[in-house]
Amino acid sequence: MDFSFGSEYEAFRETVRVFLGENWPLRGEEADLSESERARRFRRRATEAGYLYRNIPRRFGGSEQPPDLLEAQILREEFGRARAPMELTGQGPQMVVPTLLEWGTEWQQERFIPKTVEGDYVWCQGYSEPGAGSDLASLQTRGERVGDEWVIHGQKIWTTHWNRAQYMFALVRTEPDASKHEGISYLLLEMDQPGIDVRPLKQITGASEFAEVFFDGARTPADWIVGERGQGWRVSRSLLKHERNMLGSGARAQGLFRSLIRLATRVERQGHKAVDDPMVAEKLVELMGYVRSQQYSSYIQLTRELQGGESGLLPLLNKIGNSNIAQQISSIALSLLGSDSLLAPGANPRGTTSGNEKWMNQFMGSLGESIAGGTSNIQRNIIAERGLGLPRQESPASKDEAGGER
């Protein structure tokens, strides 16, 4: 066991530090630019230096570096320390770009990747449907080939970034006679067109992060399909794997835990800080056992990926571990909040910015964990069947269930 990076990597770290010291924050005239423009300029320089978009070819706006998880880790640490902008997040850079790199045609890559990496193109996802739920592959939105176009009818739900996205990547049933998983294609389409109607979906918190999207003869060119007709399910799987990794990292649990600690040191109970109550403190320590387990597990995975080995069960357990922790944290937070829990998420109690109100968002949000990336019950099936090798259930439902793992 060795937590150092070795001298070669420490040299790399030093170079990164020098770069950051010189380039962030922007100086001179550039310091007066808008925040987004400053970030854009910095990202461009950091990419030229080889620090961002490392897996993307230079011709598509990336820095085309050989994969190196340790360098990636060092970059995360140093950029984080300097509070410098890292790669753009969101479904475009994190989902569409890797998919196009793996499955897209040359013209699709040229057309979409550079602008997505720059942040000019924003994407939304069209996977889930109201009738499908965790049985994603039963989706009904259909696409018909009419001349040089796909004509799309149907409905999607849980579409994020709907208010900013110019493009959607969607799973659409194009081969109605094929079997459930073989009849789906992966299409790209423009959002701003008459055949598309976007209706924001209000969540239990009152906010609208998601929308429903209705297609009534929406159109997209024939060659905006990624992969072959009927290959859409496979194309999308590589993304889900990616998404699952994103959700599974230990960092989110640690962040939530630190916030909870801050809450417990801020809230008073009978004249004492809550954190000084032995019951509260013991609960926090119990939770800390789970949080650190999650953190170390992600280090173990990282190590094994570095060495090209198998990390076994751990990646399957990651996501559900994070959901469990988020739920525990919400429950403890709710007890700490006391009467502040009566207030709306986002409300501002006592006219001070105590920050307690955001915990009601977190509490509600912990219930919504299951929407992104597969529900806990489906995940448990996968752990049992793929991870522990238990027999598939004999019912007809079972095959689909493990297939439609979302």
């Binding site: 039963s138 969540q203 239990i204 829990s341 009566l342 709306a344 009601m360 269930e401």
Partner: protein
């Protein structure tokens, strides 16, 4: 020996169920929730005509002279239907005056409260979750000044029962110029809350307020427990209904064993707990030495279970459970309210622990 509701109570229960299904179905709850009104005047008058507001008040003042258990039957029905409105604080305010007021105070206020023509609210909580009578710090007197938190349906109330230092109670009229309500943004929109600023408001002390205050609190704990029980059962019923209709992988999701067991666990949580509030309500009048402990226990246990079941119901609904469109939201938010209002489960468990003589 009869551990069950009486014929009359069942009649009350079923007539309320019918009334609420007709006059305040869940679609109406949604309207009120969306508009943030929280008070439906028509509903209030209808319930008042049914005699709900004076159920527990002496007959000489226009009440029905019934007991806390009868009120609790009403509260459970309200929980079951997620009924919005100022019921809880109104009946508790009336109870406080009936128990702690002078003859003059009773004659002046109770008839109007019993008929629903006047509306009373409660101003109890202070900062740092000081809900309990022994924690109140607002100095009493002919005029009072200070701040009270989480005052329900303050807007339009004719009267406030205000908790004062020493655990006593005073009456402040809604029209007093020294009063200012500051509406809070709240989670459960069916029961809006305000911060109440008192600035030299005129205050009429209840002569037996110090005895009435803990009794009123205990009654409130019982009614919250009853609401939680009704709400919890509604959450289970919603989830069962959804599981029996929603299909995935070609079958009803209710046929999946994992979901079945989650629904069974919800039933195991909520159904057997009903006796807790029944007994606590019964003890309020008939077993005084058990009243405080059983009320606190019922509130702690049932509001915790309500929240468990509400969370589980959201999960059982999958993604849709997480939307504003799904009715479960009313109960989830109600569960959070029931749990926090008048003090959270942990606070009441500690109170029980202090009052228990374990060596018995």
């Amino acid at each position: 020996m009869n551990f069950d509701l009486s014929e009359e109570q069942r009649l009350l229960e079923s007539s309320l169920d019918r009334f609420l299904a007709e006059r305040c179905p869940v679609a109406r709850v949604r309207e009120l929730f969306d508009s943030g009104e929280g008070l439906d005047e028509t509903l209030w008058r209808g319930l008042s005509e049914l005699g709900v507001m004076g159920l527990h008040l002496p007959e000489e003042y226009g009440g029905s002279g019934l007991e806390l258990l009868d009120l609790a039957v009403v509260a459970e029905a309200f929980g079951r239907h997620a009924t919005p409105g100022p019921f809880l604080e109104h009946v508790l305010g009336g109870l406080a005056i009936a128990l702690g007021g002078s003859e003059e105070q009773r004659s002046r206020w109770l008839p109007g409260l019993a008929s629903g023509e006047l509306r009373v609210s409660l101003a109890l909580a202070e900062g740092e979750d000081r809900w309990q009578p022994e924690q109140w710090q607002l100095p009493g007197g002919a005029r009072v000044s200070g701040v009270k938190e989480h005052v329900p349906h303050a807007s339009g109330a004719d009267l406030f029962v205000v908790g004062l230092h020493g655990g006593t109670l005073g009456l402040v009229e809604g029209s007093d110029p020294g009063l200012r309500g500051e509406p809070l943004e709240i989670l459960d929109r069916s029961r809006p809350l305000s911060r109440l600023h008192l600035d030299g408001a005129g205050c009429d002390l209840l002569p037996r307020g110090a005895e009435a205050a803990p009794r009123m609190r205990d009654a409130g704990l019982v009614l919250l427990a009853a609401d939680a029980c009704g709400g919890g059962i509604a959450c289970l019923d919603l989830a069962v209904a959804y599981a029996g209709t929603r299909e995935q992988f070609g079958v009803k999701i209710g046929s999946f064993q994992a979901l079945k067991h989650q629904l069974a666990d919800m039933a195991i949580h909520i159904h057997p707990a009903r006796g807790l509030f029944w007994f606590a309500a019964h003890a309020f009048e008939h077993v005084p030495e058990e009243s405080a402990v059983s009320a606190a226990l019922a509130k702690a246990h049932l509001t915790d279970r309500f929240l468990d079941v509400a969370r589980a119901s959201v999960e059982a609904h999958g993604g849709i459970g997480y939307t504003w469109e799904c009715d479960v939201q009313f109960w989830l938010k109600r569960a959070v309210f029931d749990r926090a209002f008048l003090g959270d489960p942990s606070c009441h468990r500690r109170r029980v622990a202090e009052q228990m003589d374990w060596s018995e």
